[in-house]
Homo-oligomer: 242 residues x 6
């Protein structure tokens, strides 16, 4: 079983961390390939960044299809380009916010999300609603550490843990979701520290995609998510045309 995990930003250190977290939970015999696109933003912290990460993400999905990949993970908590990716891929595609939220809904009546910057909270709420998970989401709590500082800020771990504690206190929630792929490596430690389940979307999405492949579940060939109609794409995007 071959699963491709796409970190939609271009920061390779983060891609390596994501790869490690995915491999740690993947089943025996599952091949994990984790990549960053050749084009796109260094980190994703705005709608603008998200929008510009999608062409590179789609290029990786298209390459994956040529390579016989059976399922994909979109490893950014904004789940950029998920629907377009589902049109292009034949196997399942899961976003890490999507996976984390659904897992959270299995663990109790509610979860809290710890995100990076306050400006990302709106997108998280929007995804929660889209996935039907808003009823479980009690709060989105920024820790005010920028994505690329998660690795370099010596206080990042401590700040995230404290934000998680404040979040569950305020929200009376049953679990915490880590709202950025760059926090994936902290999952187990924070869970131990706060004594509550903490969910990393990278791990969650990896096992979800594996599960769907194991069940043989693939999208319908017709309707909204059918393969896009081939047409001309102009300019620097002409390579995307069919």
């Amino acid at each position: 079983m071959k699963i491709k995990i796409i970190n939609p930003n271009t920061t390779l250190a983060m891609t390596a961390k994501i790869d490690e977290c995915a491999r740690a939970v993947a089943g025996e015999g599952t091949l994990i390939e984790t990549v960053s696109p050749a084009m796109g933003p260094a980190s994703i912290e705005s709608h603008y960044d998200e929008a510009l990460s999608v062409p590179g993400l789609l290029a990786e999905i298209m390459q994956g299809e040529r390579d016989g990949v059976e399922g994909y993970v979109v490893a950014c908590f904004g789940d950029p380009g998920l629907e377009a990716a589902r049109e292009v891929a034949h196997g399942p595609v899961i976003g890490i916010a999507e996976a984390a939220m659904h897992m959270g809904s299995f663990l109790g009546r509610s979860f809290s999300v710890v995100t990076t910057l306050e400006r990302s909270a709106g997108r998280t709420w929007e995804l929660a609603e889209k996935y039907g998970m808003a009823r479980f989401c009690r709060g989105v709590h920024p820790c005010d550490v920028a994505v690329l500082d998660l690795d370099t800020d010596p206080d990042a771990h401590k700040i995230i843990t404290e934000t998680a504690l404040r979040a569950v206190e305020a929200d009376k929630s049953d679990s915490v979701l880590l709202g950025c792929a760059g926090m994936a490596d902290l999952c187990k430690d924070i869970s131990d520290e706060i004594g509550l389940p903490v969910i990393d979307g990278v791990a969650a999405a990896t096992v979800m995609v594996e599960s769907m492949i194991r069940l043989g579940l693939r999208k319908s060939g017709r309707g909204e998510f059918a393969t896009p109609i081939p047409k001309v794409y102009s300019g620097i995007l002409s390579e995307f045309g069919g």
Copy 2:
């Protein structure tokens, strides 16, 4: 990894079928134990049946806890007793309606459910709402085959297939969910016949529980789903007391 699948009715032929479908998708090294409770209804086709299936189901969960079971599947599409089971179990507990609906939400914008009797549709809608999945559920379509006739009625397979086809036509949905554990064995055939993804909740819940165990996700020890406060239970239920 040890997973216990509980068919909350007492019909052992159905339990055997469920066991087979679960084993077919379980990972290597996963031990599947499928049981029916010693007490309860022969089939579940009403709120009354559901209510009376729960004490037996809970007894099986309590036995499972003593046996070191790590996760549970409730294998009836009404997901009876799911919340009580989550209080009693330390590991994850997933219902087959829950698993099927969430899987369905990953496969497109919408799904249709094929259920047995019309009187069960209300419960399906209620669960869809509770899980946040009502936005994906376009219709619940009874095939008017009673649960225990699924095995004996020679036309059952054909009727279910036809109901599924009418459902996706009417609902313009992206997948079909089989709304009864007794239909689990038909999943692949019906999918082939209608050319759309068909989801069996038994298989879906089995891989979901496996996934959660693999991630080490267990409910919080506090709050709504904490272990029930020990107290006296009277009458024939006195064995449930603490």
Copy 3:
């Protein structure tokens, strides 16, 4: 007119209190019979307790049907087994949370609920949503007095009153609902103390059931709430079979 009120727990002192509150509001000529089932938990403080209270509750409904009872009240704020009871009974069945919430909706734009333990809040919210009353429910406030301590804790009355005051202050709500049948006797006093309407579900459900009987309203004989299909029930529950 004969109404049966079922306290689904087995604590007879509470049953007696419920009986008194119901009789105080019942119309002249209405016969009130208040019972506890022979089996079940001493108090209901978890999904587990609720699930295990239902078989006893249903046995009482079945006995009521043989006794010519015309309507029923389920006197626990979790409204356990309400839908199963409606299948079995021919006359109306109302839960005390249901009655209190609807009454609350007639008194203004919003109500607050004072409940016993924090772990019960989730169930209250779930019922509010199911009844369409979530838009009126501004908050569920635990007073942290266990059900059976309501009678014995000398501070219970004071604590509940203070919780009610804090609730309406925080929620800016128009009334308070007492979230446990064991608080029924405090209704008038607390209302006087806080100067706002306080609703006891036992009284509310009693007059609601009387009203429905007076209008001759009985469930349809078909569809979701029709009498359950007779079948075999095994084990200690075999008496429930048809």
Copy 4:
């Protein structure tokens, strides 16, 4: 106990019919007074008619307060002026759509409404949502008989019955609500003919108001529904000023 029922239109034949239906269900010892305002429309079939019925309705409530009335029914299925009436009255005020919808929610998972003209359907849906009852309302079905023709059209009874039958067939609903006070007298017959519960809001609201008075439930003296601040009203409405 003194209850005032206000037919907000000025057609006295309809007022007499409403009076009869209310008296038929009122408890012994309850005084029913049914009136039409001195000003307003002959029937209510638009938002315009509704708006113009409200001053007369409020004048009747104000007179009722002077007369020691303990509770009120607004006997038009658009529930005109309900919130203003609640500000002016000290006792409970219930609209007939409100009462019918809540009663319907106690009888199953869903109801259908049979209304007069298609243009009234929007208001019914709006009220259903406002009361939290939209989840129970499966359809609003006009019979295309104008309000004042309900009494004179010899086919009215037959047309309403047929509309009710088509409604429950299409909606698979558990009961039917009569969407106009002018249909109140047909309730029992139509219920017998279609074999399903049929709810007349006049009767439902009468017993609901009685119930609330019996419980001593009166609005809070503060907040949104407190008595309006006295002020000057100009022109023909100057009598409404304080």
Copy 5:
């Protein structure tokens, strides 16, 4: 292009202020006529006041139709009589709450409303829901200045500004809506002071109605908002009959 703005209360100083704010944004060549009805309350601060403002409002719409008015603004934040007005008018009718909320939804993910008295908050939430804008409305914040004190209280400006600041702080919202036509003149100043967009519904509704007239958009001649069926109106309202 001829637009009529109706201040539904009878305080002419407020009408003059509204007129000024509307003219300041109206396009060249647009004729603005701002009026108060001859009958109605001096200010609108309750459901009662709202209800009693509607007949006068409708009389002004009817006069407007005779005068060739092409569109209308209802200049009270409770949007009284909007639906009745739409039945009577042939051109567009927009309420100032409606216009302000929609404009607010174009400016970000959320807005806060600063209203006059706490008792008005319920109506604002109700309108937000009716217009589909509840998802954008994060809070309704009373400043506790009565409508007619907005002009005379020397601290009014300061209090409103402070309430707006507290609102956006608490709600983390993207803009502020002024919840009373009597605040219209403060819009620009408060926006400058708090450094966030502030929306006055009078201005917003004026340009919205202009826009709709420019597009030639007029209601359908059939269905819910068709011209009301002519009928007899009695008493002091007899002039409204057709």
Copy 6:
């Protein structure tokens, strides 16, 4: 006043048509500039197409900011990149689906959308929900004419008209929205033919943006829609970096 209208596909004939429709409704003194991006798809008929249209759209917004543009219209009914555009632009940005839906909500209780291909319906529903307009949207009806065939198919006009008629019949809706910028020129004719208001989003968005500019409404400088944080963009997208 300078408004830029961006047709996010690269088909210049369609851009010309959009330009004409916008100019027809723009106020005197408003400069309209209508463009297609240099890169992107020839038409937008999938999530994939939408995603790939966004970088070009954003480049045009960035150029507009340098050119002193005061407001923008995104002229594709999927409203691609709207949120990213709002981060980049200082003045208002409105999508044509957004504008059409809001205008539709002012014209009655409901609208129907006529879209091109069935696979686009999901996106329309998603936008309706996001804008709070799902409560007004009764149906999305594909006419099965591809975007680029709208101009060349001689039957296109007739097919769209027939689809609109069927839509309002089925949905009992008050207006029709044209679900593609390529239908903008048909708006008046179809409205005349079906006798109901028909809304073209290009015209609607143009006057809405004008209105917002006239009111001086610009997004807040902080929060979710603040200017994106400058960072490195790699590959062919490096020109987007800051």
